[in-house]
Structures are given as C-alpha cells and as structure tokens.
Point group: C2
Chain length 265, copies 2
DNA sequence: CGCACTCTTGACTGATTTCAATTGGGGTGG
DNA sequence: CCACCCCAATTGAAATCAGTCAAGAGTGCG
C-alpha cells in the first residue's frame, strides 16, 4: 500500500488551522470552489492528474493492446496523443467500438475493479498509466482531483448519451453525418483527419463498412462535405449536415413519396 | 490499508489529534475504507443519500414530468418506487428513451448544471428530490457519500455500455431478448412485470412497436418465454435466450447457408 | 354498449446488409 | 523504375431485415 503521508505534503505546513473551527468538509468545499475559480475549465482532468500524480508514460504502436476485456485491472490510462479504440466483442464475434479515446481522454474510470472493454491503439499513441489506487487516494485527499474525476465521468456519460441516441434513433447516413460532426469538433473550418479505418467507424456506428463508405460519398456528392482522400474531409455546409441529422432530410426528398402515397390512398 | 481505519473512528472526537500527524486526507481514506468494509455493498447509493441528506418525497402520476430536457436544474432525483423513463427527442420528433429508472436509481447525477433529458413517470411513482448543492457539500464532507456517488456513476456507466452494445450490434429480436433478460433481473424464475408500454420499449430499443411485439411473440412460440398478458412474462429457457442474444441464432439456421456456399465455392 | 386505447397480426415497401467485383494507394522486390 | 502484391476502400446487384401501412383483436372506461 502506498504511504498516504506523501499525500499530505502540500497541506502539512499549517494543518491545525483547519481544525480550529472549521471541519475538514468546509475546507474542502472552499478548496474546491477555489479550484473551480482559478481555472478548472482550462485544465483538463488528464492534465490535472498528470500534474499531481505519478504515472508511467508509454508509447504504443498501432494495433497494440492496452487492456483486455475482463481483465482485473488497477490502472487508469490517459491518452496523451494518438487514438485508442475501446471495444467489446459479441458472442458471434462481431466487434462494437464503444468509444474512441483521443488526447485528453481517460480510460478505466468508473469501473471499479474490472475492465469492461479491450483497448487498442488505432494510430501510434502515447499514453500515461496511473495506478487506480493512487487516483483513489488523491481523490480522497484533494478537492481539485475530485472535481476533475467527476468532470471526466460526467463528460464520458454525456458522450455515451450522444452515442446512444445516435445508435438508437438515427438512420445509417445520419449516424455517419453525426460522426463527422463529432470528428470535426467545435471548429468546422479546415481539413479534418479521419484517423481510423472504415471498419473502425462501422463497428462504432453499428453499420457495415460499405454503408459508411456510401454515406460519406453521398455527402460528398451532395456537396455537404469534401472528401480529400479516404482519411481527410472538409465540412462545406456544416449547418445543412446538422439539419440532415435532425431529420430535415436536407430537402423534401423523403417527405414527398409519403405525401404522394397519401393522395393516392 | 486497513490499518488506519479503526484509528480514525475513535479519533473523531478530538480532531486536533488528527492534525498532528495525519492530515484530513488520511482520515477520509480511512473513513471511506471503513464504509466499504461495513456494508457499502448492502446499502445502495440512494439509501445512503436518504439516510444522510434531507430530501423531499413526492408522488407522481403516470405520464407526469419530473424534469425537462435543457432545464437548468439543481436537483437530483431518487426513485423510491415505480418507474421513470428518461428520454430525449430528435429533431424530427422521434423519442429515444435512454434509460428506465426503477427503484434505487438516481437521476441527474453527473450532469453538472443542465438536464440532459426529460424524465416522466411510467407508472405511479414515488420519488425523493435532493438538492444538488446539498449532495455536493456532502460529497466533500463525507467519504461514504463519495463512495456512493462514485458507485452510482459507475453503475450508470456500466448500464449505458450495455445499452450501447445492444443498440450498436444486436438485431431487433436480440435487442428484445436482451431487454427481457435485463427486465427479469438476476433471478430468472417466476413471473416478471413489463411495466412500460410497447411504445416505451420500442423507443428504448430503437425499434418500432410492431417489431417489439413480433419479437416477444416469436420467443413465446419458440417456447423460450411464456407471455401471460401483454405485461407479464416468464422465462422458460433463459440460457437459450442468452445464446440467442450471443448470436448462436438458437439453431444453425444461419450457419448452414454459409457452409453450403463454402462447399460450392 | 360503444368508444378509445394498446397491442397484435399481415402484406408490402424500403433501407441496410450481404455478396461479389473493382479500384486505388503504398510498399517490396525484381 | 516498373511490376507486382496486398490491403483498404469503393461500387454494384441481390437478398434480408426491419419499418410502414392497414386492419383486426383485446381491454378498460364512461
């Protein structure tokens, strides 16, 4: 067991001040508020963990495994650069990539004890490995760490919810469009990378590689995006792409047949 | 690791003893370990929140709203009895139920600030409403609360992952089967309720009500389940239902054509 | 007793997958 | 430098799965 004393380093100088009238809870609340005030938004959870905890940096080659589904694991992995796919396999051998973890992402939070999925490098990737026990200790010790962990969990949950909606309620092409929007990130302009293969995209979106390919080229033909090669694209009309996702179907192309049928009936 | 546990409990009366050599972090670690030791597994996160925090109990009628998507919200809701559906609407008006929250579930954790989905009672439901700020304060103050919140978040994440795999990689009937297994819970025997409507199930599984109905009746005809009325069922052969989900396809019906083609080629 | 609702069932349509063939790019060896 | 191979991606045609439309059955309520 790590010695918890090192944890106290920063606070050790005047510990009893805390105790006189304020219980530790109040202090921690104050501390947390302070964290939030002075830049919780700027510093990502991963950055904060790096700053405050020891971790081992590793470089992994494309295709190399980081974790295996079902492993008992005492580690949390932060992605520094590159890209990691986290996936599970169904009984009949199909693969579902539940998330792509890019720079800043944390893998292994919120599963206490056992890995829920395998993780594999998509591209050359640099990671940092923390010990779960170290994170837990820091979690108890430091309000900033707590805020960061909670934020990371909340972000992951938000992300999952987006994916869930996408899989549950969007058509094939809408899923591809939504994925492109996600890939492009906040800034729409400029050329964007598609670092993963069509197979990876398909296994993430619950489609086949053919359908993904067709979707991409359909958007290309519709002038909504511009495909460079297979792994680069540019958003030409982002807002229309979003409209398409939201069911406007870009034009009335889908609505007309319905209307026609009504007039016939 | 277990060492400091007893110490902290007895020392709580005279706090400054702690400060001399142990900072608050150490105490909190110890406290948390203690929690875990004496029954974190038995006491659900919701039970613990109820025990330690003030909350307002309310009864809601079927169809009544608890939260609205996009609301700024300072509340966390615990479900005491009944059932709540949490959903979002797509741009073209379709509904996706991202989860059913039954007794013991917490709604509104891990979204700091804004509701990510609407929540509506499926059946007559009793809830308890906590203030987020109260939970946050308790979170900082009490290691048991921390453990509970983390556990609740981890459970929700696990649940989401199951749903994600279901939506991303299972066929319509497999989704229905997986949902039934989930509804039945750990004990397979006996009669189980289906508290929600077909429309609710369909909107959760990303299917139509017709497909859900057909799936259920197919399993009934296959003698894998026994449907009582529309809202009750019994698992007759749970293991075969699980096999079906995992792609064994119950028989070799799907594998044979493939084998035949191989012999031809 | 009829109305309104949910659920079931059938026939048909259409979207997506499956199968199959072709293209294109990158690396290797002649 | 070019031919070749290998793999990923694309494209087309047929097959399948799930959705849509439509009608009927069951249930509860006024």
């Amino acid at each position: 067991m790590t010695h918890p004393v090192q944890a106290s380093a920063s606070q050790r100088d005047n510990p009893c001040l805390q105790c006189e009238h304020l219980d530790s809870a109040l202090n921690l609340i104050a501390e947390r508020a302070q964290c939030a005030a002075k830049g919780a938004k700027e510093e990502t959870p991963l950055d904060r963990l790096r700053r405050m905890l020891p971790g081992v940096v590793r470089t992994v080659e494309p295709g190399q495994h980081l974790t295996l589904e079902g492993d008992a694991s005492d580690q949390v992995i932060g992605v520094l650069s590159g890209l990691v796919r986290c996936y599970r396999l169904t009984g009949d051998g199909r693969r579902h990539i539940c998330r792509f973890a890019g720079p800043g992402s944390l893998i292994g939070l919120g599963l206490l004890g056992v890995q829920r999925h395998s993780a594999e490098a998509v591209a050359a990737t640099q990671i940092i490995v923390f010990r779960m026990s170290a994170i837990e200790a820091a979690f108890e010790r430091d309000a900033c760490i707590r805020a960061s962990i909670l934020l990371a969990l909340a972000e992951e949950l938000t992300q999952r919810e987006r994916v869930q909606l996408r899989l549950g309620r969007l058509t094939a092409d809408q899923r591809v469009a939504d994925f492109l929007i996600e890939l492009a990130g906040p800034k729409n302009a400029g050329e964007h990378d598609i670092p993963m293969s069509r197979a990876d995209i398909a296994d993430h979106l619950g489609l086949t590689i053919e359908t993904v390919s067709r979707g991409l080229h359909r958007f290309d033909k519709m002038q909504l995006i511009k495909l460079g090669d297979a792994h680069h694209f540019r958003l030409l009309r982002p807002s229309e792409l979003v409209d398409f996702i939201e069911g406007d179907d870009d034009s009335s192309a889908r609505r007309l047949p319905h209307a026609q049928r009504e007039t016939k009936g």
